[in-house]
């Protein structure tokens, strides 16, 4: 069977994976699934699969958020220590993409945790045996490369689907600013060399905005939401319903985004200064569109990459294809 090339991005907020044709995204959450839960027609009719891994049944993603009694999320400092959850999210991504057999993949780590690269590679490499809704599945990871997370967007920008240069924008200094869920990463490529001293992570990210908006909703309307629900509100209508009446949360979002933008720019100044000698700054991640104008006011050579929330995972797949061949 032909070896498939996979891009995998197990982020603190969301897990994303692509085989180059299909792309899947689900919350990086897992939890136990009881047979009773799975037998319940209402629960089973929702999105997602039951994964059986090393004798235990799990839900993952939105299914776990809704139905698992002890759901677990990834925590920043413990990613490679949460081995079982990482394996579950990997298996969930393979199930969603309907992948089995031999694969090669590229994945990423936030800059500040890049020292865990070998541990992550070891965790993912080799044979994964699991069941999807009771059907046995074996995925064998033959090759793994781990890159600093923002480089996925860099590769997505400069490479085509076969990992071949399609743009000369890799030349000179290119800053990559990745505003994710719980971390904002800053990376510098200088002539295709990763410059670690001008790269790093900060904790101000989209969750900073969500928390402020959530707190504002609680104060103004007495409603207590999970962070992922705030994310959904911000992407869909920017309002909450209170006792049948619609209330805009726009007045809460503006100041929260302003605060994030200031934090993001403070980080950029710390790592890159004025970046006047940079050819380009790539803005990526789920927060890119929110802070774009504020960042461009300081760095006019910044631009948002195509599909910023998916650019890392798309670039991971392209780089894996280049590195390991088709």
């Amino acid at each position: 069977m032909e070896k498939q090339t996979i891009g995998l991005d197990i982020g603190y907020g969301f897990t994303k994976a692509t085989d180059g044709t299909d792309t899947v995204v689900f919350p990086s959450v897992g939890g136990d699934a009881t047979q009773a839960d799975f037998d319940n027609e209402i629960i089973r009719s929702g999105a997602g699969f039951k994964i059986t891994l090393r004798g235990r049944d799990y839900f993952y993603g939105e299914h776990a958020q809704k139905h698992s009694r002890n759901s677990m999320a990834l925590f920043a400092r413990e990613r490679t220590e949460q081995v079982d959850l990482m394996r579950l999210l990997f298996c969930g991504a393979m199930a969603e993409l309907d992948v089995e057999g031999r694969i090669q993949l590229c994945t990423g780590l936030p800059i500040d945790w890049f020292a865990d690269e070998a541990a992550l590679r070891d965790l993912l490499a080799g044979e994964h045996v699991f069941s999807v809704n009771g059907d046995l599945r074996i995925v064998s990871v033959d090759e793994v490369v781990v890159v600093p997370q923002p480089f996925g967007s860099f590769f997505d920008t400069i490479l085509d689907d076969f990992g071949i240069f399609t743009s000369s924008q890799f030349r000179g200094k290119v800053g990559i600013l990745d505003i994710g869920t719980f971390t904002t990463d800053y990376a510098l490529s200088d002539g295709l060399e990763y410059v670690a001293k001008s790269s790093g992570s900060k904790t101000a990210a989209m969750s900073t905005v969500w928390r402020q908006v959530r707190d504002g909703i609680k104060v103004n309307h007495g409603l207590d939401y999970e962070l992922h629900e705030i994310d959904a509100f911000m992407r869909d209508g920017r309002k909450v319903i209170v006792q049948g009446k619609s209330h805009s949360i726009e007045p809460l979002i503006g100041p929260a985004v302003d605060y994030l933008a200031r934090q993001v720019l403070a980080g950029a100044r710390e790592f890159w200064g004025k970046a006047r000698d940079y050819n380009l700054i790539l803005l990526t991640g789920g927060g890119a569109e929110y802070v774009k104008e504020r960042v461009q006011a300081v760095y006019p050579h910044a631009r948002v990459v195509r599909a910023p929330h998916l650019a890392n995972v798309q670039g991971f797949r392209k780089f894996a294809f280049r590195k390991f061949g088709g």
Binding site: D160, I164, F165, T166, G191, L192, E193, Y194, K323
Partner: protein
Amino acid sequence: MDSFRMRLSGVEDQDIAEWLALQPDKTSAIKQLIRDAIQETNESTLDVFVIRQVVRQEIDSAFDERQFAVTGDVTQEPIGSAEENAKLDNMFG
């Protein structure tokens, strides 16, 4: 790529594969398709991703897997020097 897709007169990816399968000389047919696209768009560089996907499957040996820098007659000028390609290959182990 979008402009190139448009110049294919609405031909979808799968139709290109069908069309190509019917051509007795696939290499010449693809080159002619690119020439026509250049004439119509007056672009010096085209991303021929759609074509390359087909080429890869059908006549892999006819083209290098690089972006074509197309100038009048069909030529291939890959972006990136050998040194730059080697640097990218060696990034991250």
